[in-house]
């Protein structure tokens, strides 16, 4: 009797869990569905009832050009900033992972803290400095500043990967005659590839979506979020949904990458150790 009762309440609890998950996912994914759906709706106002399918908002987007220009800017600056941050982050993560030295703790904090400072503050600060050296208001400014906030992400992710590396294999390389640099490039670097790829992906996403800093420093070469922001001040129409859908399609591509690289890196640590 007691066992049956317990099983019954277990099932009830599981049911409640699934119901909660369903509601939660509804909340999390609702805006994305709305974005994609209403980019194909005829009416200017995204409401029910459904008025008909159209592609005119995509046409509108293509003919207008402002958002596409900004998308182009973003697609130039974000991959480059992510790449620069990943390279800098890899070397820093390697040194922090391998060496002990005086002031290491302070240095690790210094290298991680930029991500903890709100971008609003960083945006004002960057503008203050860059305008003194006439580097404000260009794509280069966005690149330079985004690298700062992306370095911590890169270091954190690559450190996760490096921490999983058996210290044996670097020593084995030395033992077989490799110099420190040879071991770094021929053993440690290949080992870190998943971490590096994950770091680049996440950095790219952060940069691509970053608004405040870019708003302060990008000037006449706005990135996509900045252009959307100024676009919204004048026209609220479904071409925003259209660009949103395009971005979401891009994101799905990214997500496949994430599924393949980032999640295994974060979660598989455990299952590996189980097998061992």
């Amino acid at each position: 009797m007691a066992i049956q009762k317990k099983q019954g309440s277990d099932r009830l609890l599981a049911l409640a869990g699934w119901a909660y998950l369903l509601l939660g996912f509804g909340f999390l994914l609702l805006p994305i569905f709305a974005l994609v759906l209403f980019s194909f709706e005829d009416s200017r106002l995204p409401t029910l009832p459904w008025t008909g399918w159209t592609l005119k908002w995509y046409n509108f987007l293509l003919s207008d050009g402002r958002l596409l220009e900004a998308l182009k800017n973003s697609l130039i600056v974000s991959p480059l900033a992510a790449a620069a941050a990943t390279v800098i982050g890899f070397f820093a993560a390697y040194a922090l992972n391998r060496f002990e030295f005086w002031g290491k703790k302070f240095l690790s904090i210094l290298l991680i803290v930029p991500i903890l400072i709100p971008p609003l503050i960083m945006g004002v600060a960057f503008l203050g400095l860059l305008s003194r050296v006439n580097l404000q208001g260009q794509l280069l400014s966005v690149f330079l500043t985004h690298v700062v906030i992306l370095i911590p992400t890169a270091i954190a992710l690559i450190t996760i990967r490096l921490a999983q590396m058996p210290s044996d294999i670097e020593q084995a390389a030395w033992n077989l005659g490799a110099s420190e640099w040879q071991a770094l490039f021929r053993v440690v670097l290949p080992w870190s590839i998943p971490g590096i790829a994950g770091a680049w992906l996440l950095s790219f996403t952060f940069s691509f979506d970053e608004f405040v800093i870019a708003w302060f420093v990008s000037g006449f070469q706005p990135t996509l979020p900045v252009a959307i922001y100024s676009f919204m001040a004048f026209n609220l129409d479904p071409s925003l949904n259209a660009i949103g859908t395009i971005i979401f399609a891009l994101s799905i591509l990214l997500l496949v990458g994430v599924e393949l690289l980032l999640i295994p890196l974060l979660l598989e640590n455990r299952s590996n150790s189980k097998q061992a």
């Binding site: 939660g24 609003l120 600060a125 455990r270």
Partner: protein, 309 residues
Amino acid sequence: MANSIPLSKPSSNLQTKTPNESSLLRWICLAPAVIYDSLLFLLPLIFLIWIGFWTVDNYRLVPGFSLSNYIDIFQQFFSKSRYAYAILQSLWVSSTATFLTVLFCYPFAMAIAFVVPVRLQRLAILLAIAPFWSSYILRLYAWQTLLNKEGLINSFLQTLHLINQPIEIVFTQIGTRIGLIHYLAPIMILILYLALQNVDRSLLSAAQNLGATRWQVFWRVLLPLTRPGIVYAAVFGMIISLGDVLSGIILGGGTGKSIFGSLPLFASMILNEYAASTNLPRTSALATILIVIMVLILFAGTKFSQSNQ
């Protein structure tokens, strides 16, 4: 015990001899990050605080040391621009939004960790963090179209005759919070899920074996064990929402209504003031004040978590 450590771990990095003991490798590896962050992180921050003491004359920055920005700001603390109220509004909205996000995410992460079959958990996490990979500003726009008076949600509820008048959500701080919760939730779910994953399942069944009810297992075992994850998630949520400008502007309409009245958030205010005036010294002074507030919160947060342990 201390003596036995080198014996049992002779391969520790401290003792290992490397191909070149005095090599410059570590400094060469660290140099790019250190130089970059010194020039483009520390320097701008120092500059920010310094510029707060500059003045503007005829649209030109005048370096110097003047307290006029701060005097002006503090004179307007309770009148005209009413910065104090904006700070209060910011603290109120961020703390409630953070609290609600934790409240939403903890059971969600729990459901993924305990109800969803293991092989599907990864997919569930991936779905949960999916919003994070789409544009934040466009998600806010989507929420705006969903929540406004003629929006999907209001028209849906009216069709069902659940309400007669459309509910006002957009351009209130409730809207701001919805935007913030939606922004924070994916990362918080991930943090809390990882925290829950680290809990040893055998502890839970052991507690149940000892006669604890589900509630007791939750309150006396699971919650205490995942407390660091919760604190971590809450501090993270607080910092992000205090510094966020977009939700307050797009969903809160700049000066959204809350129980304190129609007041802007401090962060949105800084952005809008700069957009209107391009007065960098004054904006820098305001940003410096925001830094002070955050440091105080972080300080209080660490004090709080220490005193509880």
